[in-house]
């Protein structure tokens, strides 16, 4: 293929993706006043029954898109893996890594019942704050294990409520453990809204939905299921996607929608983003600016081919989530 033509096509794809993201930001900005009229706090959790389902990536990227659209957003990481610090670039930043406290201040706040004790990382992006997790988050799980079941939700929620008040937060996004673990269950209890990423394999089905539904029913959670979406599905598997979507729609009925957005799969993008601390949008922008075909510049950095598609998908997902959030449920 003619090299120039190939480059131009790449540029156009990036431009279209950029347009999709810009449209998404505009739509989110349009919805913001309505969101601010909803009861506060507004705590969203991406729930899944197993690891690797897309909770952390969705949290970081949807959180970043919301913040980019002007939503004062707080990401709270309740996973000992501390993915959010890496995904949002704090762990890689020597200027800010010193602020990471392994989740100690959040643990202290929950134990003391005093949200003022939390030291969030302010403005890891404009309007995006982070309560990071770490080794101390394991102790949070231990502490909550020793807490009466009825008290667990309140113990965490009271801290979140205070953080929302202190920092004037529009939306809180929780990154949790799988729902089968205590911190995952507590996240379900502490949330107001749930979104469920789902892969097409049987394990995701069993753990993704049935486990969450049982836990939800038994724990007394009362967050609203905003919808579900297919995560990290190979773009070529359109038939499998269509079958899964149909099955999902049958399953959910009128309870909640299946979002149109499908988050595309890319090992390379996932690896690069977690190493560099760039969000999908930033990664796509870097790709558009820096990527060159090998025959043009062999030394140019390499990016995932579908970085622009991933960026657009997260923007669309954020719009669908917020649109559903403001809709009055039937």
């Amino acid at each position: 293929m003619d090299a120039t033509l190939k480059v131009q096509r790449g540029t156009r794809r990036a431009a279209e993706a950029s347009h999709t993201v810009a449209s998404g930001l505009a739509e989110l900005a349009r919805l913001l006043p309505t969101v601010r009229q909803l009861p506060s706090p507004r705590v969203l959790v991406f729930a899944a029954g197993k690891g690797g389902a897309g909770k952390s990536s969705s949290t970081a990227n949807v959180g970043a898109i919301l913040a980019a659209a002007g939503y004062r957003t707080l990401v709270i990481d309740l996973d000992i893996q501390a993915n959010q610090a890496a995904l949002l670039g704090v762990a890689q930043d020597p200027d800010r890594a010193g602020e990471l406290d392994d989740g100690r201040s959040f643990l202290s706040a929950v134990v003391a019942g005093d949200g003022d004790l939390v030291r969030p990382l302010i403005e890891v992006r404009p309007d995006l704050h982070l309560v990071a997790a770490g080794l101390q988050t394991r102790k949070l799980s231990d502490y909550l294990t020793m807490t009466k079941e009825a008290e667990r939700q309140r113990a965490v929620r009271v801290v979140i409520d205070r953080l929302v008040q202190l920092h004037d937060i529009d939306v809180v996004v929780l990154d949790s453990r799988p729902a089968g673990e205590l911190l995952g269950e507590v996240s379900l209890l502490a949330a107001d809204y749930i979104a469920i990423p789902l892969k097409t394999d049987a394990l995701s089905w069993n753990y993704g939905f049935d486990t969450i539904a049982r836990l939800y029913a038994e724990s007394g959670a009362s967050a609203r299921l905003l919808g579900s979406y297919l995560f990290a599905t190979g773009s070529a598997n359109t038939r499998i996607q269509a079958d899964t979507r149909r099955e999902l729609e049958d399953k959910l009925g009128d309870i909640a929608p299946v979002f149109r957005t499908v988050i595309p799969h890319s090992e390379k993008a996932a690896k690069d983003q977690s190493e560099s601390g760039l969000t999908a949008d930033e990664y796509a922008m870097a790709s558009a600016a820096l990527a060159k075909p090998f025959f043009v510049d062999p030394a140019a950095p390499k990016f995932a081919n579908n970085s622009d598609g991933i960026s657009s998908a997260y923007a669309s997902l954020a719009v669908e989530i917020v649109t559903e959030m403001v809709r009055i449920p039937e």
Partner: protein, 213 residues
């Protein structure tokens, strides 16, 4: 697979309706939403948020130790445009006083600065993000970082471009002189000085983030 286990989720819908019913909606005063205004404000906030690097705290000259490489090649290449351009009238701007020496008829020549690879990457990323802000980004970077180089965005035209690791910026002569003077005070040539300024200004995460991609 049965849909029964999922029926518990209806509880969430019920609770959401109840919460809304109990909630007193704050009066926002208007039904109209100024999306453009929000985005414009947002864009401006984004721009400002990148300006986190403090200005240099020392006024002592910075020199490169003997035998050590300066940050990339350090020379200014100037070229004469094909036809003289008439500068726009200066305008007041909070970033600094308007250029004073762009007298009508003076030939404005673009200056070419060679910057480090990391800075070039960082600028490309930022330019990719908000191309329309690029002249303002450069102007603000110089203004914020140098303190001694007051730059109005009008002084830097939109014909900035990259070629390899060279930034070509069309500067008002007064700005160019200011950069040159500030660089001389630090025993640096203009390219090294501009590199240093921009390294301090571009968010370190952006600079570093590109290195291992």
């Amino acid at each position: 697979m049965s849909a029964d286990p999922l029926s518990a989720f209806r509880r969430g819908n019920d609770r959401d309706r109840d919460r809304r019913a109990e909630h007193v909606t704050p009066d926002t005063g208007t039904d109209e939403v100024d999306v453009d205004g929000v985005l414009e404000r947002r864009r401006s906030e984004l721009l400002q948020s990148t300006l986190t690097a403090p200005p240099p705290t020392t006024s002592e000259p910075v020199s490169t130790p003997p035998g050590e490489r300066e940050p990339q090649v350090a020379n200014i290449v100037t070229t004469t445009p094909s036809a003289p351009t008439r500068p726009s009238p200066p305008a007041a701007h909070p970033l600094g006083p308007p250029p004073t020496s762009n007298a009508a008829g003076r030939v404005r020549r673009p200056a070419v600065y060679n910057v480090s690879k990391e800075v070039a990457h960082g600028l490309r990323v930022l330019r990719g993000a908000r191309e329309q802000d690029y002249p303002l980004l450069i102007a603000t970077a110089l203004d914020e970082a140098a303190a001694k180089v007051p730059v109005a965005p009008e002084a830097i035209r939109k014909r900035n471009r990259f070629s390899g690791e060279r930034i070509t910026v069309e500067l008002d002569p007064s700005v160019r002189e200011a950069i040159k003077t500030a660089a001389q005070e630090r025993n640096l040539n203009a390219s090294a000085f501009v590199t240093q300024l921009l390294e301090q200004w571009i968010p370190s995460r952006v600079l570093r983030g590109q290195l291992h991609l």
